[in-house]
């Protein structure tokens, strides 16, 4: 069975992308303004707002970093199957500048003294150690202090900036370069190896810094892997959604078929299982050892206020999608797979909210409209930054040497 020779030409979804980016920007601005208004009206010195903002930030951050992992792993493994959808991962990865802008509001809780007397600060409790754990938190201050925290943040962003710029630029250069030795692809393959090490370390430490330190007395070495599992799940789902959307609008028609969806679906299933595996690994060791400084984190998540959310998480993030995407027929049906991709992107928020918010208040679940506004808003900005790139660049890496193999790709 021979696939006809692919036509190597750019696929420009300029108009569609421009529309989508406008929608994204409006949703972003609207969501953020609405959330700001709601946050102010809560009268808690914007504490709930900043915690919910952290969740929304984490949501965008996992998508961006998921994109980076997706691109790196395709290069390092020399994958053929993913060439036609890799550009979507590159667009996601290349939203790091947006992430940097989104991180700026964190300076407020880091430097203000608002709410210190009432709640011990607006966000990360280690900024102003207080209460029964103050001594222990002070003990960790050589690592958890504002200047070093910001320094690390700058470092992560710098690393991600370098990686994402490099791979984006080279990939675009490969599109037009007809040199038969494919120097850009070779270069990307070489750089992907050290990059993925840098990625793993920065992602883990960013997860420790931004998410784990919401409960500064707690520690879990597997936490970075847990966040990583969410990143990979989110990006594969996002790529499925984008690809189905583009095909609906008439783009990538001959480039992505059931075989590619099948593979993307396999990763969605595999990382649903991987997420559960890591989540359970983290839980079981702590549950078994039963050491108070470790169990506290889970204790805060089985209070009457959070118990339901915790149990629901097992169903929504593992049991339901596991049986949902298990079948080969679902993975090869793009409508069905798009449904599950959207589903996973929604439950991914449930997971992140569960990671962060009980650390703000273990005895009260503050989930409300503002939380939704924030995550939808920041996600809107992400869509804006994502789609804006598609207005200028081809949504297909049409110069990739493995493009032909990718289109001819068949699952056994």
């Amino acid at each position: 069975m021979h696939t006809p020779e692919v036509v190597r030409e750019p696929i420009l979804a300029t108009d569609t992308a421009a529309r989508v980016s406008r929608v994204g920007l409006s949703v972003g601005v609207l969501g953020l303004l609405l959330a700001l208004a709601l946050g102010v009206s809560e009268g808690d010195g914007m504490r709930h707002f900043f915690w919910a903002y952290l969740v929304a930030f984490a949501y965008v951050f996992t998508l961006t970093l998921g994109g980076m992992f997706f691109v790196l792993i395709q290069h390092i493994s020399g994958a053929k199957w993913s060439v036609t959808v890799r550009r979507l991962g590159e667009f996601a990865m290349n939203t790091v500048p947006l992430l940097i802008v989104m991180a700026l509001p964190f300076l407020y809780p880091l430097f203000t003294h608002t709410g210190v007397d009432e709640y011990g600060g607006l966000l990360w409790p280690w900024i102003h150690p207080h209460g029964e754990h103050a001594e222990l938190v002070n003990h960790k201050s050589p690592f958890l202090n504002t200047p070093f925290f910001i320094g690390r943040m700058v470092f992560y962003f710098a690393v991600w900036m370098v990686i994402s710029r490099f791979f984006m630029k080279r990939s675009l250069a490969q599109d037009t370069d007809r040199d038969p030795s494919y120097p850009h692809t070779v270069k990307m393959r070489k750089i992907s190896a050290p990059s993925i090490i840098a990625f793993a370390l920065t992602l883990s430490f960013a997860a420790f810094d931004w998410l784990m330190s919401t409960d500064p007395v707690w520690f879990s070495t597997i936490f970075g892997v847990y966040i990583f599992a969410g990143c990979v799940l989110a990006i594969h789902s996002w790529i499925v959604l984008c690809s189905v959307f583009l095909q609906k609008r008439g783009y990538l028609k001959d480039m992505v078929n059931a075989e590619h969806y099948h593979d993307l679906g396999k990763f969605m299933l595999a990382f649903t299982i991987f997420w559960a595996y890591i989540a359970f690994s983290q839980f079981m060791l702590i549950w078994y050892a039963n050491i108070p400084e470790e169990t506290g984190w889970f204790q805060h998540r089985i209070t009457p206020a959070w118990k339901g959310w915790s149990y629901a998480l097992i169903l929504t993030n593992f049991a339901v999608p596991f049986f949902g995407i298990l079948s080969r027929h679902v993975k090869r049906n793009k409508t069905a797979l798009a449904f599950w991709a959207a589903y996973i992107l929604i439950v991914h928020f449930i997971d992140l909210y569960w990671i962060v918010m009980p650390s703000m208040d273990a005895h009260h679940n503050p989930f409300g409209f503002m939380d939704v506004c924030l995550v939808v808003g920041l996600f809107g900005f992400f869509v804006w930054a994502f789609a804006r790139q598609a207005t200028k660049n081809s949504v297909l890496a049409y110069g990739d040497p493995k493009l032909q193999d990718c289109v001819a790709h068949v699952n056994y």
Partner: protein
Amino acid sequence: MSDSKKQFGVLAEYETVDEILSAAAKVRDAGYTKWDCYTPMPVHGLDDAMGVKQTRLPWFTLCAGLTGASLGLLMQWWMNAVDYPFLTSGKPQWSLPANIPVIFELTILFSALTTFFTMWIMNNLPRWFSPLARVERFARATDDRFFIAIETADPIFNAASAESLLKETGAHAIEAVEDPDESAAPPTWFRHALMIAGTGLIIPLMIIAYARFSTQDQPRIHLVPDMDFQEKYKAQNPSPLFEDGRAARPQLAGTFAMEDDHLVLEDPGYYTGKVDGEYLTEIPMPVTRELLERGRERFMINCAACHGYDGSGNGTVHKRALSLQTAGWIPPSNLHQAYIAAQPKGQQFESISDGIRNMPGYKAAITTEDRWAIVAYLEALQGIEEAGAQQLWGAAPAVEDAGPVDSDPLVAKGRELYTSKTCIACHSLDGTKLVSGSFLGLAGSERKFTDGTTAIADEAYLNESITNPNAKIVEGYTPGLMVIPPITDEEREALVAFIMSLKQ
């Protein structure tokens, strides 16, 4: 082709993937069902070209996976919660988190093995012989040629039409294949090898059987030393993990398990032994024969090591401590003492649950119901004592009777303190020497000290001995043994008065 020999089918040879794909589609469309393609590598699209239906194998895998998961759960429920309940780290006896790894493993094991073997069965494997293997050109099916074989077993098979069909498909060579009528049974060498291997399997079984029914004077061989000698916390040893040598952090005061939380509030008597600070006087459940049996069993497991099988305080641990002359050893109480027998049941329950003096609490090791069962058994045991347990169990230390009535309230208070402040553990009232000398006749007697001096045991001497037991050591006794309980001046006064009243 001679008609005298049986025919297996018709074999056609092709040179490229495209050729075999189009040929396979034609054979499929001709309506044949008993035929197959032979290719040197997997050919994409061949399934479709041959009209092979989607495999049902995943359903077997799914069912096997679900079976594995259910069996894993059921097995652990049966083992841990029903057949052999064993408390681990104070966790519920059937606790799901601990079961999940095994459930996971069994899910994978069942799915993988079922998939593997079902695939063999569905593909009619293993196949020992194929007539195609006798065809010389067919050897290239493992190298660079593609073949289609239509078998005579096909219901619409007709040699002439099959050959013409294959010719139409553009076959490079067509050959009728004879069926040499060889046995499809496994080859002889394979059967022999199987028999030898099967016989060989008996050897380890025999070694196991021999090992089970014989005794050895050699220590066992440690095949995996780091599994046999693990770096882990061992009972009665300090743990290197924490500074204070404990293996686990003690629970904070007032901690109890989430599940028990509401139970304690609902039924404090049952769970703590007291209601509003008052001890229960009765066991809060019907005392049945089963409960007593259970109590006896739990007593023998948890209590007898120190308190002795008869509850006299003469258990193995105590005997061992005496033979080692362990310094500071506080002997286990004789449970037949009147003051213990007279305690409200709730207080006995509390002592078992939370511990008393140097006895640790057994709340984490014995379930609530079992602790009440022990209390129930204790009452029966104390009853047996009256009915002549000494004949039953051998001599136990003498038991106090209800006790003399002291006219002097100070002396009466001292007698009370004698038990509650644990003097009773080492000093008897009947002249027997326990760990230390008896109080009977102590007052007024002459004491000989290790430094050669003597003194009469008067009130001043007794006061000094309680306050500072090592000031003067009586000949024949070890210094540093006496543990001074927290005691007020009034209490000391009462104790001294009590001891003075035992003057002979």
